[in-house]
Amino acid sequence: MTTLVIGFLIGCAFGAILYLGGATSYRRILGTLRLKDMWIIKLMGTAIGVGTLGIYLLDLGGLANMSIKPAYIWGVALGGIVFGIGWAVSGFCPGTCVVGVSEGKKDALATLLGGLVGAFLFSLVFPFIEASLFETANFGQITLESVLGVSGIYLAMGLSAGLLGIVFFVLKDKYE
């Protein structure tokens, strides 16, 4: 029960941040995907930069409840491509369409309904592809830490510094 309440409250903050930060804005999303307005990539880069260091600091104290997704290379790569096409076409992603609906955007509602249909279509296809999906080039829950054999905190420090450096000092806000 406590977990449900925590989930709900974290979700509330997540939704509010996405709305306030302009992540439900088509102008911002397509601006970033067209490499003109770097707002979204800067927002995401900052979040990932802060999150990476924080999670691996937690991990040092054994406090990080990690959830590493398995690397079945072809399925993940192909899924990423299909996802990316949908992202550019709709201007939302699965999380921002939920927030878009909450602020009354009807195109976000169309994306949400399309998403429910897309997830259902995947469940129809799944039985036929399950075996080949997870048995081909599936390396399991590997991380940069396990692959490189370098302690995660050092990698996290490097990635965080690199990302935050790029986002704050290298990328301009807008490009023509």
Binding site: A47, S67, S123, V147
Partner: protein, 193 residues
């Protein structure tokens, strides 16, 4: 629009901000929220809950089919619909987004309001049907792809990359790569910036 805003700022007449909170504020808050979620329960994720929702409906409408489907039956059953931390998180996103937009709508830039983005209109015309159809089709591709890959922007990019997961690096590169190419294709003949 940007020139217009810049001019106003330069002349010192009035400043029309084209955001509510900056990407820095939003990015840092989101990073901290991710750390909190990882410490308390687990990292953020959204796309699984589309299946959980589908499974709940299908279990209600066509229980036998739901039980027999290898994917839907993983996410909830007749008595337990699989509504847990993850689903409550997405419900929270709806509530939190709704509260924030109700309280701060007047601070939201005009161009970010409504269901017909100006950039879209300029390129594809003012047909709402066309916009909704693209949003619907795009949504279907989004979730089909996310389920194939095992996560979306939240689970793979925002949460997976910070855990240094190889699968999430692959998803971030292919997802952004395909989206950038598709956006370029969609706006290929557009000079608007």
């Amino acid at each position: 629009m940007q020139d217009f805003t810049t001019n106003l700022t330069m002349n010192g007449v009035l400043m029309e901000r084209d955001y509510i909170i900056s990407w820095k504020a939003a990015g840092i808050s989101l990073g901290l929220l991710l750390i909190l979620a990882t410490a308390l329960v687990k990292p953020l994720g959204v796309s699984t809950q589309f299946v959980v929702s589908d499974a709940a409906v299908v279990h209600k409408v066509a229980p036998e089919f739901a039980e027999s489907n290898a994917y839907l039956s993983k996410y909830g059953n007749k008595t337990d619909w699989g509504v847990g931390y993850g689903w409550m998180l997405v419900l929270g996103m709806f509530v939190g987004g709704g509260i924030a937009s109700t309280l701060l709508r007047k601070r939201q830039p005009e161009q970010d309001k409504g269901s017909m983005p100006a950039m879209w209109k300029q390129r594809f015309g003012d047909s709402m049907i066309k916009r909704y159809a693209a949003a619907f089709g795009g949504g279907a591709l989004l979730l089909f792809g996310a389920r194939l890959a095992g996560g979306c922007t939240s689970g793979h990019m925002i949460s997976g990359v910070p855990q240094l997961a190889i699968s999430s690096f692959i998803f971030a590169v292919t997802g952004f790569g395909a989206a950038i190419l598709m956006a370029k294709f969609l706006y290929r003949s557009s000079s608007e910036s």
